[in-house]
């Protein structure tokens, strides 16, 4: 448990993906079975303990500590699990140094057997046996998610590195395995055969498109390409098959291979009823109301919810708009040309007769100028009332096979031009990792009427869109124009005559009650640094409000 706790501790402070991978791989390499297997299960979300609730933890600590001291401590620390972990003073009769250290595997195995009534005593004993970091990890483990910035796929990538294999090789056998994954580790360490249970509904690595550079048009022949709308939703892969008992298995995956089936039970049920033994669809997850695609902001309200309520399902019905069919009834279609896959997809969708599934239509275009016109006005070019949910067009070579990753040439995305606004730098914060000595995270604002004339109100944050040279120059500007600081944040001088203007590009704007300005930007980044522009000439909030969708 201590080693696992130390791993979680390090992960929680490690911002970089590669750093996280290194920490996990090192842990898996130096930790024995079954301990590391349960750690892998914890990191991939494969463990759940029904009976442990934060209220129980609060109860336990109340028996140990003066309520005034608890209140002062909780106020200072701000997080319940952490406060309890730090406050917990081992009681009388706690273990001595000759007590064998508590193992994660013991915690998991005992908890799986334990009933609600045993929990209090078990937890007390374990909290007594662990140090602060161990208690923190234990409480995080049993009361909910770990929140150390590690996805299930990243954890599996770390395991794959043990054996020097690609993560997809692990993904393929993953669903046939269960904690503590001894056969997986044995295979990866060359001590055993590759686990044979092949997942009947595996993730197939997604094919991604390159951003289109408009200069490319000279070298591209419009007759070789198909065009589709680029929908403003979430990329989703649907994989269905039958297990060895003949039971239907259907999984939904994100673009990166995270399984998200439980977040969309409505969609999974409907697609699961399609009469085909095995299939894999690639498409866009959208929310449709009365047949109309809703904005991304609406879809967002269905994402990242801990529990999917019936109300959520009714208000935000999920839909798949498919644009590729990559496997069907034992046949891998990825080696077929796009145009043939597309024909099979049309057949499949028609035969499926599933209201929650349709096909993303092709755009009719003769040459690049007509496609450019369609991109500018999707509503009149075939997208109709769904035009507002289009964020550009996709170009796919008719002969393109489906390959993993982002190959150069076969697929392009040509996004709608971003919105732009000139805003003034207000606050700067240091970055992480390589950027830890640079002020590289910027909060910027626009003008609005205030009680004493115009004032700047923050409208967003950006931390990329500039070169290393520009970063050095902005960093120097921040250091030379700091007027105040709060912890790691510097207040940069900003007024009508003093201040640095950024041209901010962003993809859209939503209403927000969390922001003082009432607006939240999608995907803001710095398009240009306007060293030349006086701060008073930056944009006003009214210009942004005009872009908001109707309330």
């Amino acid at each position: 448990m201590n080693r696992f706790a130390q791993l979680l501790d390090r992960l929680s402070y490690q911002p970089a993906r590669n750093g996280k991978l290194r920490l996990m791989t090192d842990y898996f390499r130096h930790t024995a079975d079954p301990e590391r297997g349960y750690a892998l299960a914890a990191l991939t979300g494969g463990l759940s303990f029904r009976h442990a609730k934060p209220a129980l933890v609060r109860d336990l600590v109340a028996e140990r500590i003066d309520p005034a001291l608890f209140a002062l401590s909780y106020d200072f620390v701000g997080d319940l699990s952490e406060t309890v972990a730090l406050l917990w003073a081992p009681g009388d009769g706690a273990h001595g140094s000759n007590h064998p250290p508590l193992l994660l595997s013991e915690v998991v195995e005992v908890l799986q057997q334990a009933g609600r009534n045993d929990l209090r005593k078990l937890l007390t004993g374990w909290l007594d046996a662990l140090d602060e970091t161990g208690r923190w990890a234990l409480l995080k483990l049993i009361t909910g998610s770990l929140r150390v910035g590690v996805s299930a796929r990243l954890a599996r990538t770390a395991v794959a590195e043990l054996g020097g294999v690609e993560v997809d090789a692990v993904e393929q056998v993953w669903h046939g395995l269960a904690p503590p994954y001894a056969p997986l580790f044995a295979w990866l360490e060359g001590r055993g055969e590759r686990p044979t249970a092949i997942d009947p509904a595996p993730f197939r690595p997604a094919m991604l498109a390159q951003p289109l550079d408009e200069k490319n048009f000279d070298s591209l022949d419009p007759r070789e390409f198909c065009a589709e709308w680029k929908w403003d939703g979430i990329r989703l892969q649907v994989s269905a098959g039958r297990d060895e008992h003949g039971h239907r298995l259907l999984r939904l995956y994100s673009r990166s291979g995270e399984e998200v089936t439980t977040a969309f039970p409505d969609l999974a049920d409907r697609l699961g009823a399609i009469a085909a033994d095995e299939f894999a669809l690639d498409g866009e997850l959208l929310v449709l109301r009365e047949g109309r695609v809703q904005s991304f902001a609406t879809l967002q309200q269905r994402l990242n919810r801990k529990t999917v309520t019936a109300k959520l399902l009714t208000e935000f019905p999920a839909h798949l708009r498919a644009y590729d069919l990559i496997a069907l009834d034992g046949e891998d279609l990825r080696a077929l040309p796009f145009i043939e896959r597309r024909a099979r997809l049309a057949q499949f969708v028609a035969r499926a007769g599933c209201p929650q599934l349709d096909i993303s239509p092709l755009i009719d275009f003769a040459d690049w100028p007509s496609l450019a016109a369609a991109r500018a006005e999707p509503a009149t070019a075939g997208a109709g009332e769904d035009g507002a949910a289009v964020e550009g067009v996709m170009l796919k070579r008719r002969d393109s096979i489906y390959v993993a990753g982002r190959p150069t040439g076969p697929w392009f995305k040509w996004k709608r031009d971003p919105f732009n606004v000139d805003a003034v730098l207000m606050y700067a914060q240091r970055g992480h990792g390589k950027r830890s000595s640079y002020y590289s995270d910027y909060t910027f604002g626009v003008w609005r009427p205030g009680t004493e004339g115009d004032e700047l109100v923050p409208v967003g944050k950006a931390y990329f869109g500039f070169t290393d040279e520009e970063l050095t120059r902005i960093d120097r500007f921040v250091r030379n124009n700091t007027i105040d600081r709060f912890g790691p944040v510097r207040v940069v001088e900003h007024g009508a005559d003093k201040g640095l203007v950024f041209e901010i590009a962003f993809e859209g704007l939503n209403r927000s009650t969390r922001h003082k300005s009432g607006v939240a930007m999608r995907f803001p980044r710095i398009a240009r640094i306007r060293w030349d522009k006086p701060a008073r000439e930056a944009d006003r909030i009214e210009a942004l409000e005009a872009l908001l969708p109707p309330a």
């Binding site: 130390q6 390090r10 929680s12 402070y13 490690q14 911002p15 750093g19 290194r22 920490l23 090192d26 500590i65 003066d66 005034a68 001291l69 002062l72 401590s73 200072f76 620390v77 701000g78 997080d79 952490e82 406060t83 730090l86 406050l87 003073a89 140090d131 602060e132 240091r430 970055g431 992480h432 990792g433 390589k434 830890s436 000595s437 640079y438 912890g487 790691p488």
Partner: protein
């Protein structure tokens, strides 16, 4: 209500800080005073400008090095345990275990024993004499980490965390932020104990204190001046610098710096994250909660004064133990080491 307390018959609070009328002296005055008794060399306790300073020889050496030779009109050294009568008061200095030369000051006057402990800790520290319990009627304590969430781990285990990280990330320079008086030297001594056999690179701002500790006979790992280093070659090496420098421009020349910070505040995750620390090391030169409580009990005092820090919790606890306790809310203490928002650069931290 505390007008007739034990402590206030010996000590009063004045704008310049704690004052003993019987001996006509201040302890750790906040500004220059005619006669100052100084517990230790941190800048929030040892200030320039007093006419006469009484402190341990080590503390006087530290003050001279940091404040310049004219730091006081005259300076008088006093050894641990050496009795001295000043006016109607009798004083002795006792080890506080905080940094080199740090002392608690026992003042006996009007038949009462009052201990002003300055900053102190009970944990192992190879760089200074261990804390000694001094029985007293009234105890004046700090409470920098005066909340029960603070229970400092064994410092050697935190150093082991640093060494483990060097094993996993051998291509990254490990830059450890540490206060330049006390914490830096303690880390250097702990690294020696942990068997680190390569030189540690130290920032210019702490070099003079490292040299002073060595001259006082403290054993530490070999050090080199980081300004002389070929920075791209510092992969897998340890660099120690003041906390404010751990986010500074000079880091950029080092290979993929990994920022660590050695402080008791690193116990609380939000504090570490706010600073952008990747490797928090919970190493403190102040008493943690159990040490504060144990020390109050060990002294046998019936009255507790809390000078600075999280006074509220410690005062509450002392009252539940039947002690008379009051917070002094002293402004100006706790600014140098383990100050929550330590200044970016203070005179003592400016590279010489």
């Amino acid at each position: 209500m505390s007008g007739h307390s034990t402590a206030s018959s010996v000590l009063t609070i004045t704008p310049a800080g704690l004052y003993c009328p019987a001996g006509d002296f201040h302890v750790d005055p906040l500004r220059g005073a005619p006669r100052a008794l100084v517990t230790h060399g941190h800048s929030d306790h040892a200030r320039a400008g007093s006419a006469h300073v009484l402190a341990t020889p080590e503390t006087l050496a530290i003050m001279r090095a940091r404040l310049g030779p004219g730091f006081a009109g005259s300076a008088q050294p006093i050894r641990y345990g050496e009795p001295l009568t000043i006016g109607d008061a009798r004083v002795t200095f006792h080890p506080a275990g905080h940094v080199l030369g740090s002392a608690q000051i026992l003042i006996e006057a009007a038949g009462r024993r009052v201990v002003v402990s300055g900053d102190y800790k009970r944990a192992h520290d190879p760089t200074c004499r261990a804390f000694e319990v001094v029985r007293c009627d009234a105890f004046v304590s700090e409470a920098t980490f005066g909340l029960p969430v603070f229970r400092h781990p064994v410092a050697a285990d935190e150093v082991a965390k640093l060494l483990a990280s060097l094993r996993i990330f051998p291509e990254r320079t490990h830059v450890v932020g540490a206060y330049s008086l006390g914490k830096a030297q303690r880390l250097l001594a702990l690294l020696l104990e942990a068997g680190w056999d390569r030189p540690v690179w130290v920032h210019g701002a702490m070099e003079s204190m490292v040299a002073l500790y060595r001259a006082e006979g403290v054993r530490m790992v070999e050090t080199r001046h980081v300004t002389n280093a070929d920075k791209p070659k510092l992969a897998g090496e340890i660099v120690i610098c003041p906390p404010s420098a751990a986010s500074d421009i000079w880091l950029r020349k080092m290979p993929d710096p990994l920022v660590a910070f050695a402080s008791g505040w690193m116990r609380v995750r939000a504090r570490a994250r706010q600073r952008g620390v990747e490797l928090p090391l919970v190493v403190s030169d102040h008493a943690d909660w159990p040490e504060l409580c144990a020390t109050v009990k060990d002294t046998g005092c019936s009255e507790l004064w809390v000078t600075h820090g999280a006074e509220e919790a410690l005062v509450h606890w002392a009252q539940t133990q039947g002690l008379a306790a009051r917070p002094l809310h002293m402004i100006g203490f706790g600014d140098e080491d383990e100050g929550l928002d330590e200044p970016d650069a203070q005179p003592a931290e400016t590279p010489a």
